[in-house]
């Protein structure tokens, strides 16, 4: 079931339906001999969403939430256990070799670690030119150079000729990431999956890379799936936000709705613990205790219930479904909370729903 947080049917460009990815837990010989039941790591446990062209959807979650796995499945770099992914109506999970190669032209990925995602033995020019060679997009060296130059410039490396002969080790983290982005852009893709593209970069250069993503959307109508653990950068770039926990989407909706009026207790908790660079506004934090449980033995009922600060009796037994809390904004909670005027300390944005202006917690002066 696709929540109608998604665009109407005819506007759907990238569609993910009931995506599931399970990994078997190895049992060993003895386990198999004793016929112990098979156990599975529920990396992704049933996700559905759809994106229109030129939309940025942020997939937010902590480690173990399944966000990176989802991204890899969308691009066909991992085979899903079940479910489907389609681009412009065409299924892309099971493709013959030529069709898959064509798909690769249209859907690209940006990786998290700029130090590891480039081949240390390849020059910048070679790294950006390789996709052109592989897909035979350049008829001759002049056209190739032009395309490489255009891609490097689009990624912010100017003048491009200064970078052609350099190796990744001679570049800073930010520059490496731009080279990686250029090599994705040179194919003029329609979809880009960006997996934590700025989390390993210095803060002062993140804005530029995020700005690049926004330009990609505005100027080229590229559909971007932005994967991150940082709600703040998600808020900056995304049109819509989907929050993942233990392999499922627990909340999805327009970015401002989800951030200003979070409904699911997990989202509310995440919002409340985000550090804000302003010491005067220290608000009440809902820190969840314990850690995310392992995705092998999932809790019964709502999988968030063991850590939920707002738990009710039914949560232990019933698996909740995605319910609409306001137009386009859905949360997977058995008992959705009223969005304002709650008896717990309100945790959304917006001056009026209150920050307790607390004195600093450890006085020294």
């Amino acid at each position: 079931m696709i929540a109608s947080s998604d665009p109407p049917r005819d506007e759907r460009f990238l569609e993910v339906r009931d995506l599931v990815k399970l990994y078997p837990v190895p049992r060993g010989i003895i386990g198999r001999m004793l016929r112990r039941p098979k156990r599975w790591v529920h990396a992704v446990d049933g996700i559905s969403f759809a994106m229109r062209r030129g939309e940025i959807l942020a997939l937010v979650g902590e480690s173990g939430s399944g966000k990176t796995t989802t991204g890899l499945c969308v691009l066909g770099l991992l085979e899903p256990s079940s479910g489907g992914v389609s681009l412009a109506g065409e299924d892309v999970v099971y493709l013959a070799r030529t069709r898959r190669r064509q798909f690769r032209r249209r859907a690209q990925m940006i990786f998290q670690d700029p130090y590891e995602s480039l081949n240390p033995r390849q020059t910048v020019f070679s790294a950006v030119a390789e996709p052109l060679e592989v897909h035979r997009l350049a008829t001759g060296p002049v056209e190739k150079t032009n395309k490489v130059a255009a891609a490097l410039e689009a990624a912010g490396l100017k003048p491009p000729s200064e970078y052609y002969k350099r190796y990744p080790q001679q570049l800073s983290g930010g520059q490496r990431q731009r080279v990686a982005i250029a090599s994705a852009l040179v194919l003029e893709p329609q979809v880009v999956v960006a997996d934590e593209p700025v989390s390993m970069l210095d803060v002062s250069i993140r804005a530029e890379i995020l700005g690049l993503l926004l330009r990609m959307r505005d100027q080229h109508e590229i559909t971007i799936l932005y994967i991150t653990h940082d709600l703040a950068t998600a808020a900056y770039v995304a049109d819509r936000v989907a929050v993942m926990y233990l392999g499922v989407i627990v909340e999805i909706g327009p970015a401002m709705s989800v951030l200003q009026r979070p409904s699911h207790p997990y989202t509310r908790s995440l919002m409340s613990v985000l550090p804000t660079p302003n010491p005067r506004r220290r608000r009440k934090r809902m820190v969840l205790q314990g850690e995310t449980p392992n995705p092998i033995d999932l809790p019964s009922g709502c999988r968030f219930h063991p850590r939920c600060p707002e738990i009710r009796e039914s949560c232990r037994a019933t698996v909740p479904s995605l319910r609409e809390v306001e137009p386009g904004h859905y949360a997977m909670c058995g008992t959705p909370r009223p969005l304002n005027g709650h008896q717990l300390a309100p945790v959304g944005l917006n001056g009026s729903t209150g920050f307790t202006a607390e004195a600093p917690k450890h006085g020294s002066a």
């Binding site: 898959r100 990786f111 670690d113 390789e130 592989v134």
Partner: protein, 306 residues
Amino acid sequence: MTQVFVRYRLGGLGLVMVAAVVVVAFLAPWLAPYDPYATITGSSADIMASPSRGHLLGQDDSGKDVLSSVIYGSRISLTVGFAASFIVVVLGATVGMLSGYAGGRVDMVLMRITDAFLVVPRLPLMLVVITVAGRGLANIILVIGLLSWTYMARVVRSQVLTVKERQFILRAKALGVSPARIMTRHILPQVVPVIFAEATLDVSYAILSEATLSFLGLGDPMLISWGSILNRAFLRGAVMREAWWYLIPPGVALAWTTLGLTFLGIALQEMINPRLKTHHLFDEGKTVAIKRLKTRTPILGEAPRF
């Protein structure tokens, strides 16, 4: 700290030693005073004659100059060494890369074949095969090469397994690069240093294997190699005659060559996988290098002068 220095010196030494042998082999016709392949006319006084002015390392059982034989012997040893290890590199690296990259059933099958070769003791098998196939340089090269590729395969495979997991490989896949191109353009450059290091040691093993085969009388009868010199020496009673000039030089030559190759191989392996140095805290006194100050430096104002 000293360990690292020694290793690199060792590599340099090994390189020099091996280079010396290569030069000698190349320049054999000019360096050797006589041609050991030419027929000899001499007298019985020449048999196993001890070193003299005309024959610096004496003469062998048929009156031939030992020094010239040893010099020319280097050609055979090196030829076998490099040719056999060429086979090893090509076969071993290919199997290793395919196995490592493909994984799954291909890997399993190839590795079981490799294991089968590893389990069989090489030398006895070489003896048997040569005896059956016949003595000859080509046969020797083939036999040594075909029975030695497995170590290379294993080493290359484990390197490929490591490289395969690196993110730039995943990125190449995402870009649509074909497996063949990934193997040649992305994985191979990372594997070459390992191949080099292992190949150096394989050359050394091939040279020793050839020497062993020749020593046991299974070498090419038309060619002079260090092993065959020793073979004749023993068969013709050099030991009884205490003809040390006949027995020792080929052995020294073998030792020199393999030692040089081993030094080189060790240094190459060290360069690929630098080991941890001794912890700097053992020499902590070096860390604090300031002079003892008498006055407190102010926190503001002018910079302190030292």
